[in-house]
Symmetry: C2
Subunit: 331 residues, 2 copies
Amino acid sequence: MDVYDVHTHVVPKGWPDLAAECGGTGWPWLRVDNERAAMLMVGEREWRPIQSACWDAPTRLSDMDADGIDVQVVSPTPLFFSYDRPADQAVRVARIFNDLVLECAAAGGDRLVPFCQVPLQDPDAACAELDRCLAAGHAGVEIGNHVGDRDLDDPGVVEFLKHCAHVGAPVFVHPWDMPDSPRLGRWMARWLTGMPAETHLSMLAMILGGVFDEVPSSLRICFAHGGGSFPYWLGRADNAWHRRGDLVRGRSTHPPSHYIGRFYVDSVVFEEPALRLLVSVVGEDRVMVGSDYPYPLGERPAGQVVRKAEFLTDDQRTKLLTTNARRFLEH
Amino acid sequence: MDVYDVHTHVVPKGWPDLAAECGGTGWPWLRVDNERAAMLMVGEREWRPIQSACWDAPTRLSDMDADGIDVQVVSPTPLFFSYDRPADQAVRVARIFNDLVLECAAAGGDRLVPFCQVPLQDPDAACAELDRCLAAGHAGVEIGNHVGDRDLDDPGVVEFLKHCAHVGAPVFVHPWDMPDSPRLGRWMARWLTGMPAETHLSMLAMILGGVFDEVPSSLRICFAHGGGSFPYWLGRADNAWHRRGDLVRGRSTHPPSHYIGRFYVDSVVFEEPALRLLVSVVGEDRVMVGSDYPYPLGERPAGQVVRKAEFLTDDQRTKLLTTNARRFLEH
């Protein structure tokens, strides 16, 4: 029984000069400080310190062994999505990172399963890059939860999601590009409150924007961080859909709870009461171990909350550790 | 055994011309369309349709009888807080509404317990208005969760909270003034995702801003809507506090979960799995029935999720229906 962690991130150990390769300015670059540590830079700004686990397969495999994880899905770090740039720049940067991620994953043998990024601001280019990546060895795609002011119900995004369903590529939706403000600019509030709110909003956009009604039910889509705050607030959304339908229903044909079963979530909610809510609301067939490895806001040991949860039956635990991810990945 | 609903709102049936009474422009006013319906107006804009339950005590009492609620805490509608106006205007509008709310409540006998509003942008004026209201018959105070860019850890707000602890006034914190954007401006997203995110952020501000370390533990404070998304994400906050303490700890001396027991939440989360999480995380002594009556995003019948929840013991249910609110209100 292989245990899967569907939510991890990878950063290559350096990449070509993106201004030279892609045009534009203000690109991220990596300042490698030593064999074990580097600083993700954006222009002259120190954006985030990272460790070698981000790029070094042996370090990852060692941590996976320690945590009891057999297979990781390795996804890009959202900083590289570049949805706010001209599409031709985003296409080029996606190709560069997607090829580098393949190399990182290959160094882990079958245990690292690569997901690609796509230039989601240009649906045709996004579909083409997905096709190129699937042919090259990627197993799925990670997308950001919005493209500027366009949410997941944007016609271009919906076109891309239909293509994913058509070619059978699993989609992992990660929050990014969180609003900022003086109140949100402290103690990582954009990560602590902003990320769960972003995913909450985008799941509502999938439902109330009619996306689940429009895309094939064969689409396999997973929302990071336990579906953000959506699962806790499903009852509030259902109640509003019924009582203020004039404002709330949008393009949806059913109340939000109807769409349970159409999406997966990961398990990185840390505490048993939250996991219990998650399994109750989205179902034991739709929760998969995810950890956000190797970032510090992630769970270590990966999958701990699933392994320790006393409310899970053995059968349910197997689903969360293995079976659901296999179905999501068609692995 | 009296059943309490600690989260309801009242709107008086009309009020003086606020531009004439308080100065300034763009004030809310009430367009009474008939005996049962009115439109809350802001300047020329239709802000929200309301029904006579907002102002009419017999209607409220009849609904309370139908729902099995003996006592309602009646709080202002946040639209009237006026924290963004000059303090002297906010003082005047608070006096007008607080006196009108007393009249509304008096028409309900002992069954409607009034909470006042205060000009929170001016701590001295806020303390003075609270004292005036307590002497006049108000039982506590409702505050918005922020004053512009100042959160609940703002020194002026902390000064007011200390005063509330000193005079023994219970505080009900309601989200308001939610950010807007093209993505949030659809299907009431500012209410569905914005409000829970606002309360989540402000509870972090109470903790990481060191407020719970600074104010007396005698402060009785309740956060609306089940504590926003905070209870679902407490584990994420604790993990971040430990693993990125350099960025996250702020002025707090303990991890977020340490402050459980220092605050109350209401029960308006609609579904049993969410209530179960809430009771697990914040404790059976800290959850009280709240409904958001009479607004359509509230729960009807009020307290239904508490009455129906199968996981609650009889003793726990009594706490949520009665005992906890009595302690919160010192009733």
